[in-house]
Amino acid sequence: MQPLVHIILILLAWLICLPLPRAAAVHVLTVIGFSAVVIFAPIAAVFLLLTVVEAAFMVWLFNKFPRKSDLRQYGPYLLLLNLLFVDFHQLFLLMPVATLTISFSTIRIFMTAKQLLSSRKTLPISETYWLLPAAFFLPALVIGPVFSGTLLRDQNRKGNFEQPVLRDYRMMLLGFLLAVLLSPAFGGVSNIMERYEHGIFFMIWVLLFSSVVCGVLGAITYCGTLFPAFWISPTGQLPTPVESADFQRFLVSLAQVDGSIRASIHISAA
C-alpha cells in the first residue's frame, strides 16, 4: 500500500466519521484498516485475525492465574513467535504472500495482551476487543508505530476528543505533499541507493517515514483520535504526557528542519 493510497483511505475514514459521534472514529479506522489489509494482503489479514484470536485466548486463559505468576507475565511472549511468519511462510504456503503490517500489528497485539493481563482489576472478556484496533488501526498500518490497543481504549473512554488546530492542518498537508512527491522519487532510486549509499537511503527513508507519519497524525486528528505515544514500554509502563508531547515535537521538527533537502527532492521528483 503506497503512502498516497494510505492517505486516501484515511480521508475516506474521515468522511465516514463526519456524521458519527467522535467515539466511533477508532472503530471506523479499525474497520477500514481491516478492509485495507484484506484488499492488499488477504493472507496477512487472515493471519492477523488468527493472532488476535490467539491473543484473546491467552488473555482469557492467563487471566485465571495470579497477577505475578510467570505464566501470566511471560506467556504472551509466545505471540512474538508469530513474527516468524514473515520470513518462513513460503516454506509451507509454497508461495510468497504480502505480509503488510504483520510485524507492527503482531507487536501491537502482543503489547495489548500484555497490558490487559497486567490489569489489577478483574478483566471482562469484552476488553479483548481492543486487540482488534491494535491489529488493524488504519493510520498505523504502513509505518507503525507500535503501541498498545489499551491506549486507544483509554483515549476513547476519556471522551475529551482532540479538536484539530492549525498545526494539524499543516501537518496533514505537509505529510500529503511529502508522501506524494517523495515516495515515487524514493522508489525510483532506492535500488541504486540501497546498493551504494546506505546513508542517503536511510536519510530519505526517515524523511519519507516522518512525512507519512505527519500526514497521518494531522489527518486522524480530524477523525477525533490521536496516535498513542511511540515508545511505550512493552513491560506495561504507560506513556507520560511529557513523552507524548516530545513525540509530537520530534515529528514536527523532523518534518520542518529538513525543508531544504525536501525542496531539492521535490525538484528532482518533478
Partner: protein
C-alpha cells in the same frame, strides 16, 4: 477554527481534481516509449498494412522504415509498416495499446506477433504476476484492465493456496486504488513534464522509434557492415556464457501456460478484427539453430498461426557474422538489425504476393 474542521475537504477536492484531469494529460510515470506506443495506437491515420508487435528485441531488431523502402524499390508497392514494441518481454503490457490500435485505426492486414517470453530463470516464478503491470494500470482504460485480469490463467505451481492470493497479485479494489493513484500522480506530473517538453516527444520518426534513440526507424542503410573489435569479441564471449543459462520458449512447459495463453488471446483478438497473424520466434545470442521438435511444439501451441523464424539465416553466407551480431545477450547489433530487416522484408513480400 470551524473552517479548519473541513480542511480535509480541500485535500479531497484537490485529489479528485488531479484524478479527473490527470489521465487527460497522459503524464504518467514511466518511460516515453510507453506513452509513444499509446500515441501511435491512437494516431489519426488508417491502420498500417503490416504491424509488428513485440518486445525491445523488435525495437532493436529491424527497421520498418528501411523495409518499406526496400519493398517499394523491389515491388513498387508502398506498404505502411509499423511496429508497437515495449521493453520487457511481457505480452500483457501490449494488449491495451493493441486494442486501442484496433479501435482507433482498424485492423492491419498482416501482424507479425513476436512470441514474447521470459528468458531469465530467476524471474519465471512470478512472471505472471501482476497480471497488469504498472504501465497498464497507468495508461490502459479500466475496461481493458478488467478484461485482462478476468481472462488471466495463472501458472499452476501446485501451491497450497490459489495464486490470486500471492504477493503482487492485485485484488480488484487494489487495482482500482492503484489506478486512482496513477491518475493523481499523472495530474501532479503534468505541468513539470509539459515545461520540460517531455510530453511532446512522440512525433515523426521518434514516434515510430517510440522515442528510443537505439531503436530503428528510417535509420538503417545498406552500407552498414559487420565489424567486431577484439574488445567486443571478448565481451560477446562473456555474454554468451550468460545467455547459455537463459530459458527456452518451450510452449508445452506448464510454466509457460500463462504466456502461451496470453499470446493466443492477443492473436485471437487480432484475427477477430480481421488481421492475418503470423508468429515470430527470434534467436538470442549463441542460439543459432532450431530443431524440428521445437518447431513442432510451437506449431502445436499455435496451430492457426504460421511460424516465421530467421534461424535459416545462420546456414547462409551471412550466418557466421549474424551469430556474432548482438549488442547484448538478446538484442541485435546494427548489422544484425539490417540482416533481420532484409529477412522480414522478404517475408512481407511473400505474404503480400
Amino acid at each position: 477554527m470551524a473552517r479548519l474542521n473541513f480542511a480535509p475537504f480541500a485535500l479531497i477536492l484537490l485529489l479528485a481534481s488531479l484524478a479527473f484531469f490527470g489521465p487527460r494529460g497522459k503524464a504518467f510515470n514511466g518511460p516515453d516509449l510507453v506513452r509513444c506506443a499509446y500515441e501511435l495506437a491512437e494516431l489519426d491515420a488508417p491502420a498500417a498494412d503490416v504491424l509488428f508487435i513485440g518486445s525491445s528485441r523488435y525495437g532493436r531488431g529491424f527497421d520498418p522504415g528501411y523495409m518499406r523502402q526496400q519493398i517499394k524499390k523491389e515491388t513498387g508497392k508502398d506498404l505502411v509498416i509499423e511496429r508497437v514494441a515495449m521493453t520487457f518481454p511481457r505480452i500483457t503490457q501490449l494488449r491495451p495499446p493493441v486494442e486501442n490500435y484496433l479501435e482507433h485505426r482498424g485492423a492491419p492486414e498482416i501482424v507479425f506477433l513476436q512470441l514474447m517470453y521470459n528468458f531469465k530463470p530467476e524471474r519465471q516464478r512470478q512472471w505472471d504476476i501482476p497480471v497488469n503491470p504498472t504501465r497498464n494500470v497507468a495508461y490502459a482504460n479500466l475496461d481493458t484492465l478488467l478484461e485482462i485480469r478476468r481472462n488471466a490463467k495463472l501458472n499452476d505451481f501446485g501451491t497450497a493456496l490459489p495464486r490470486t492470493l500471492e504477493s503482487g497479485y492485485l485484488s480488484l479494489p487494489a487495482l482500482l486504488l492503484q489506478k486512482l493513484e496513477a491518475n493523481i500522480y499523472a495530474g501532479m506530473r503534468y505541468v513539470p513534464m509539459k515545461l520540460k517538453g517531455a510530453l511532446d516527444k512522440c512525433t515523426g520518426d521518434a514516434l515510430h522509434r517510440q522515442s528510443r534513440p537505439n531503436w530503428y526507424f528510417n535509420n538503417l542503410h545498406d552500407d552498414i557492415e559487420f565489424k567486431e573489435s577484439e574488445e567486443k569479441k571478448l565481451r560477446r564471449e562473456k555474454m554468451t556464457l550468460k545467455a547459455d543459462e537463459y530459458l527456452a520458449f518451450s510452449p508445452s512447459d506448464p510454466m509457460r501456460s500463462f504466456e502461451v495463453d496470453q499470446l493466443r488471446q492477443m492473436a485471437e483478438i487480432l484475427t477477430a478484427a480481421g488481421s492475418k497473424v503470423v508468429v515470430v520466434l527470434l534467436p538470442v545470442l549463441g542460439d543459432t539453430s532450431i530443431s524440428q521438435e521445437e518447431i513442432a511444439e510451437i506449431e502445436t501451441a499455435f496451430p492457426e498461426y504460421p511460424l516465421v523464424h530467421p534461424y535459416g539465416l545462420f546456414d547462409t553466407e551471412v550466418g557466421p557474422e549474424l551469430a556474432k551480431s548482438f549488442a547484448d545477450t538478446t538484442h541485435a547489433s546494427t548489422y544484425g538489425a539490417l540482416i533481420y530487416s532484409r529477412f522480414f522484408t522478404s517475408e512481407i513480400m511473400k505474404l503480400t504476393e
